[in-house]
């Protein structure tokens, strides 16, 4: 395995070193014809952003894409619904709306509009939702039909370990005996994120979970659940930590309140950044072929195996990341809910003594919490 890796790197260095000479020659030529060059950042950002049509590929310079419904709300004109095909890929405006250079719909009269369009990401999500509902209800039907005591079969068999994993490794250790209340939420979060991560990996797929609006919505749900399941013990420790001197309380309480909001924000950014980074890396590695191809056709073809090897490696890594990120989001949601529903333990009556004797341990607890967020 090590020798293969070494060889791979040797080939890579050979190719990079070999073609750097070509590159410097071609550079002068590229300066003349700027259009000829391949704009990788445009391709990459075009993919990872949201779009009003689902672009598959270009054919003879014409984009082949599926138009999607546009739903905009104008404060004066009200709601308008039309197909994104009316924009003719941003070349024309329709009913006073046009696409700007960032692919966003703007009103030509300059009024701020609300855009509720079914974009590429929303379409991808709807597909995932249909898949999720079909898969899960069919599996549930099997459980109902076969009864509890029959061994699982087919897709039921594939999903059961995952469901049991979420229950035994995520819900039970973090939520204790109240875990049954939160199982539907945790399972839905896990499978929703997972299936969308996987759909995003398909060629031509949308960068759904790598969009901050999506992760913001998901973490908002986590935040609401955390806040609404917080018990007296939780709020008491948040706003009035027992056994802490008044001066430290002035410092500690704001930090605790900020940490309450940081938790869902960390959830939001972690998922968004991980998936976004994966998409960017895969696209960059693929784009390398065309970057080298724009310099020299031989260089482009020569880079294909290297690029493919990296892309395949990244795809496998992203398959792992898809599951891991879904697990982390679910697990941290469970951890935060667990903190919110934690009952006052019997150590509560010795709390004051505990803090009086070891003021450092209170700090240590906060540090570990920060580590969890990080």
């Amino acid at each position: 395995m090590l020798t293969i890796c070494k060889r791979l790197f040797a080939v890579l260095f050979f190719i990079v070193a070999g073609f750097s000479a070509f590159a410097s020659e071609e550079h002068a030529e590229a300066a003349h014809g700027e259009k000829k060059g391949f704009n990788a950042s445009e391709v990459i950002f075009g993919h990872i952003g949201d779009n009003h049509d689902w672009h598959f590929f270009d054919w003879n310079g014409h984009p082949v894409s599926m138009p999607l419904p546009v739903i905009v709300y104008h404060p004066q004109k009200g709601l308008s619904v039309f197909s994104s095909a009316r924009f003719h890929h941003g070349h024309e405006s329709y009913e006073g709306y046009a696409l700007n250079e960032k692919n966003k719909i703007v009103s030509e009269d300059g009024v701020a509009i609300k855009d509720f369009s079914i974009t590429k990401n929303v379409t991808s999500m709807l597909i995932s939702v249909i898949l999720l509902l079909l898969i899960m209800t069919s599996v549930a039907k099997k459980y109902k039909k076969n009864g509890a005591m029959k061994a699982p079969s087919g897709f039921q068999n594939a999903l059961e370990p995952v469901i049991v994993f979420v229950r035994d490794e995520v819900a039970k250790p973090n939520l204790g005996h109240k875990y049954m209340r939160y199982m539907p939420l945790l399972l839905t979060v896990f499978f929703f994120i997972w299936i969308n991560n996987l759909l995003g990996l398909l060629p031509g797929g949308a960068n759904f979970t790598g969009n901050i609006a999506v992760t913001a919505a998901l973490s908002l749900i986590s935040f609401i659940v955390i806040v609404f399941s917080g018990n007296k013990h939780f709020w008491g420790h948040l706003f009035n930590p027992p056994g802490v001197p008044f001066g430290i309380k002035l410092l500690l309480v704001p930090i605790e309140i900020i940490s309450l909001f940081i938790k869902p924000i960390a959830l939001m950014i972690r998922l968004f950044a991980n998936i976004l980074a994966g998409h960017i890396i895969i696209l960059s590695v693929i784009s390398m072929i065309f970057i080298f191809g724009a310099l020299n056709a031989y260089a482009g073809w020569g880079f294909v195996p290297v690029s493919l090897a990296f892309a395949i490696f990244m795809f496998f890594l992203e398959l792992l990341v898809a599951a891991i990120q879904a697990f982390i989001f679910t697990n941290l949601t469970a951890v935060f809910i667990g903190q919110a529903i934690e009952e006052a333990h019997h150590h509560d009556h010795e709390h004051e003594e505990y803090h009086a004797k070891h003021p450092i341990t209170g700090q240590g607890y906060n540090v570990s919490e920060q580590e969890i967020i990080a």
């Binding site: 990872i48 952003g49 949201d50 739903i71 960032k102 609300k114 855009d115 509720f116 369009s117 079914i118 974009t119 990401n121 929303v122 999500m125 709807l126 939702v129 999720l132 509902l133 899960m136 209800t137 599996v139 549930a140 459980y143 109902k144 009864g147 509890a148 005591m149 059961e160 469901i163 049991v164 229950r167 049954m180 199982m183 539907p184 939420l185 399972l187 839905t188 929703f192 969009n211 901050i212 609006a213 999506v214 913001a216 919505a217 998901l218 908002l220 749900i221 976004l276």
Partner: protein
């Protein structure tokens, strides 16, 4: 920086879709699945516990059977021993009894024979005595028909007595 600004539309649709999925799946999928899993687990645990219980019961029964068997065997041996003893005793007793009985019978018989022999002897003696008397009487009557014969006989008798 565009990437870090959430779109309202996508945010709204995601929130809506997620909540719809959550409620549908909660009602139609997670409920039955989690319940079935729990039922299966408790069913398996119950089955194992029941099997364990049956096993323990079986073991207990086996031990009981074994002890019963040992007891039965002991009883049988005891009974056989007792029977043998009883048999021996009965045989011995019977032998003893038979022996004494036989001895008694023999004794009785001997006594009876003795007695009868004695009686017969006496009778024979008496008969012989009578016969002798009769014969003697007849002889005497015939011989002693005359006076002088009688006298002569008496004389002879008297002589004989002297000789004895």
């Amino acid at each position: 920086m565009d990437l870090l600004i959430p779109d309202l539309g996508l945010f709204f649709w995601t929130l809506l879709a997620f909540l719809v999925v959550l409620f549908i799946l909660k009602k139609f999928a997670w409920g039955p699945i989690v319940k079935a899993l729990q039922e299966r687990e408790s069913g398996i645990a119950d089955s194992i516990a029941a099997a364990e219980k049956v096993k323990a019961e079986m073991q207990q029964m086996q031990a009981q059977n074994e002890s019963l068997l040992i007891q039965a065997r002991e009883e049988r041996t005891q009974m056989l021993k007792e029977a043998k003893e009883t048999k021996d005793r009965i045989i011995n007793e019977a032998k003893e009894q038979a022996k004494t009985e036989a001895n008694k019978i023999l004794e009785d018989t001997r006594l009876q024979i003795e007695r009868q022999k004695m009686a017969a002897m006496t009778e024979v003696k008496n008969e012989i005595g009578n016969l002798a008397v009769e014969v003697a009487e007849k002889i005497l009557r015939k011989q002693l028909a005359g006076q002088e014969a009688q006298q002569g006989f008496v004389q002879m008798l008297a002589d004989e007595i002297k000789l004895n």
